[in-house]
Amino acid sequence: MSKFTISRRGLLKSTAIAGVGIAAPTILTSRAWGYTNEPTGGTVTFGFNVPQTGAYADEGADELRAYQLAVEHINGEGDGGMLNTFSSKALRGNGVNGKKVVFVTGDTQTKSDAARASAKRMIEKDGAVMITGGSSSGVAIAVQGLCQDAGVIFMAGLTHSNDTTGKDKRANGFRHFFNTEMSGAALGPVLEKEFGKDRVAYHLTADYTWGWSQEGSIKKYSEQLGWQTQAAVRTPLGAGDFSQYITPVLNSGADVLVLNHYGRDMVNSLTQAVQFGLRDKQVNGKDFAIVVPLYSRLMAQGAGENVKGIYGSTNWHWSLQDEGSKAFVSSFGKKYGFPPSQAAHTTYCQALLYADAAQRAGTFRPSGVGAAMEGFKFDGLGNGPTEYRADDHQCFKDVLVVKGKENPTSKFDVLEVVEITPRAQVEYPASLLGGELGPYNDGA
């Protein structure tokens, strides 16, 4: 029966009111000090919950490739990838806590309901102790909430909204990826250097929480530089043709266009903005500039040559030359024949970080794993020295500012790293974004 669905404390309280009799059968089935899906055999199950249909299907497929690679490496197959460069040496290539890692997969469809259904299947049917993956913040927050209730760890995939480790953070959830606040902080100095202090910005913002959050952080940091914000226009998600939002920019007097769009919206709005001549325009005696705060190399490919010279930020890029990145690109490229995306990188790291924490904790119990992860400092995973901050379960590391490459050598080579903004510049106090972690839930 529902061994993991009843939180002990809540149950005791509620039965005190309702009378003991009714809930008794469910108590009997739960083991005394167990936790949800405690692995009993020789294997431990991870749940990889990625978009396989819909707009982010390719990103999801890349995440899945990275997960498979990570599982191989944890189990001691393949060339070991970033395990060799990872600063923690707890994992020895024999699985985790002596158990071989197996995995199950599911399709989030980039919809909260579908993602939760898929995660529930992994927890209820397949016995997963950890859920990871995803390619949008709405989904990440929804699944994170679910994992908290069910008592398993959630290792977020590609989710960039502040809320994931801010307003909606949960004790059982951890994020390696950066967020809109860090994007703004990282982009600020570069924008100043490239475009000066006297600029007028025009925002086009995807009309949902992530978009607003991104718009807010860019506004905040650009206005600190002395920029003015001329307008911030909300565009419907999936508008397709953005011409009706772009033409007002033409004669508005603004000289910077900020596209707070991601995925297909980004591809379309950027393509169309370039089509309307904004990249080559002169306004106020300055070259007009377009900024895309969150870049994804996969999506940049969709915009083709339109990304040339466009600035943005990214979590990781395969052209990085540190040992960790080189090991990962080599391992991934050998297996699949092309370089990994940032989505692949963050999910690979998340799988490794979870396995490592569980190994160090000697258990898969969420509170144990979480304690091992909190405040954990590591290096060698491609982003330089990194820390999983205990206060909000957010990784703090350097952020890459990139720009569309003028002369790409291959179809994967579309971005170049302009600046690696050091961690200190993008760090913020946990209280800034609000929210409560709450206690760990071990479930069962």
Partner: protein, 342 residues
């Protein structure tokens, strides 16, 4: 003033796409009485004709350079499109013009797709209830898009316009306004003119040819035309093919505006139904008028000045207009009585 003119241009451009898709859809409604949920998929297939042509033209000769290695240790591949290798500059030009070239390819391909679809599937559903037509064509749309996805992936694939059409045209100066006020991308103007051309071609085909006359008669009263001993079914096959071509052409030409992906058909499906219904079921002029009307209204609703008064109006304007029109005019702008009312 300039802003308003620009929004009108946006609306005409958008409306051109809406009108083309809705035109094909309403031809199928009007003549065959079939609710075709796969029509968006036809638009998508058209767009992928362009993708396919470009990748065929761009079929690359791969030379491995053993002196340089990729980040993962394999030799770097040097890729040159065969067409450039063989034809030099002419080849480069062909690649540059891949979207217009695709039109020539897309016409026979889409015609064939349409004919096969009608013969193989749609034909057997003329007499079936609309609900079943919806289910089968929706199923077909899913199958088509999944096939495309398995071939081309889920990511958008950029299809740039030819270099010559990439620039901006000073439309304001052309109509005697101050230069520099109303400049508009050349390709979008081309798209608008192209949609007018196709619409004109379809109308004159139906208006001035005997084939068209029979089809129009069939739209008005199918049984009578059948009684006259005219093999209307065969003509309807062609009609379906033409509808597919119109949707496909709309798709091909739209690719420089919207990088195609496998899902784009579904995104246009709902919208095209709204356009057709607002125009009135089975009315070709209605579909065209409604297409441009909704395009322009949508553009205006997105203006900051309008959004300041009613926040979020641009999110719902299309649907709002549809509701208002249907409540004021029961059968849309130009619909005929009794078509699809059961």
């Amino acid at each position: 003033m300039d802003d308003i003119l620009l929004q009108i241009l946006n609306g005409l451009d958008k409306g051109g796409a809406y009108a083309l898709i809705a035109l094909g859809l309403t031809i199928i409604f009007g003549t065959l009485g079939v609710v075709n949920f796969a029509h968006g998929a036809l638009f998508m297939l058209g767009a992928f004709c362009a993708v396919a042509v470009k990748s065929l033209l761009g079929f690359e000769k791969v030379v491995l350079d053993p002196t340089k290695l990729t980040a993962w240790g394999t030799p770097v591949e040097i890729r040159t499109p065969y067409i450039e290798a063989w034809f030099g500059d002419f080849g480069t030009q062909m690649l540059n013009f891949s979207v217009p070239v695709s039109i020539i390819i897309a016409i026979p391909v889409m015609l064939l797709v349409g004919i096969i679809m009608e013969r193989g599937l749609i034909r057997h559903f003329y007499k079936r209830p609309h609900a079943e037509q919806i289910l089968v064509t929706f199923g077909l749309a899913i199958v088509l898009q999944e096939i495309v996805k398995s071939q081309f992936g889920a990511n958008p694939i950029p299809q740039p316009a030819p270099e010559i059409a990439k620039g901006m045209v000073d439309f304001g100066a052309m109509i005697g306004l101050q230069a520099g006020g109303v400049v508009y991308p050349a390709w979008r103007l081309i798209y608008f003119l192209f949609s007018l051309l196709v619409i004109g071609a379809v109308f004159s085909f139906l208006q001035f040819t005997t084939f068209g006359m029979v089809v129009r008669a069939g739209m008005a009263d199918r049984e009578t035309v059948g009684l006259l001993g005219i093999d209307i079914d065969r003509r309807f096959t062609i009609v379906f093919g033409i509808a597919a071509v119109v949707a496909g052409l709309a798709g091909v030409m739209y690719t420089p505006i919207l990088s195609p992906d496998y899902h784009m058909g579904m995104d246009f499906l709902v919208l095209s139904f709204v356009v057709v219904v607002v125009g009135g079921m089975g009315s070709l002029p209605g579909a065209v008028v409604a297409g441009f009307l909704l395009g322009i209204v949508q553009s205006f609703a997105s203006m900051n000045e309008v959004k300041a008064i009613i926040p979020g109006i641009d999110q719902i304007i299309i649907y709002l207009i549809a509701v208002v029109i249907l409540l004021v005019r029961p059968r849309g702008l130009m619909g005929r009585k009794g078509v699809m009312e059961q």
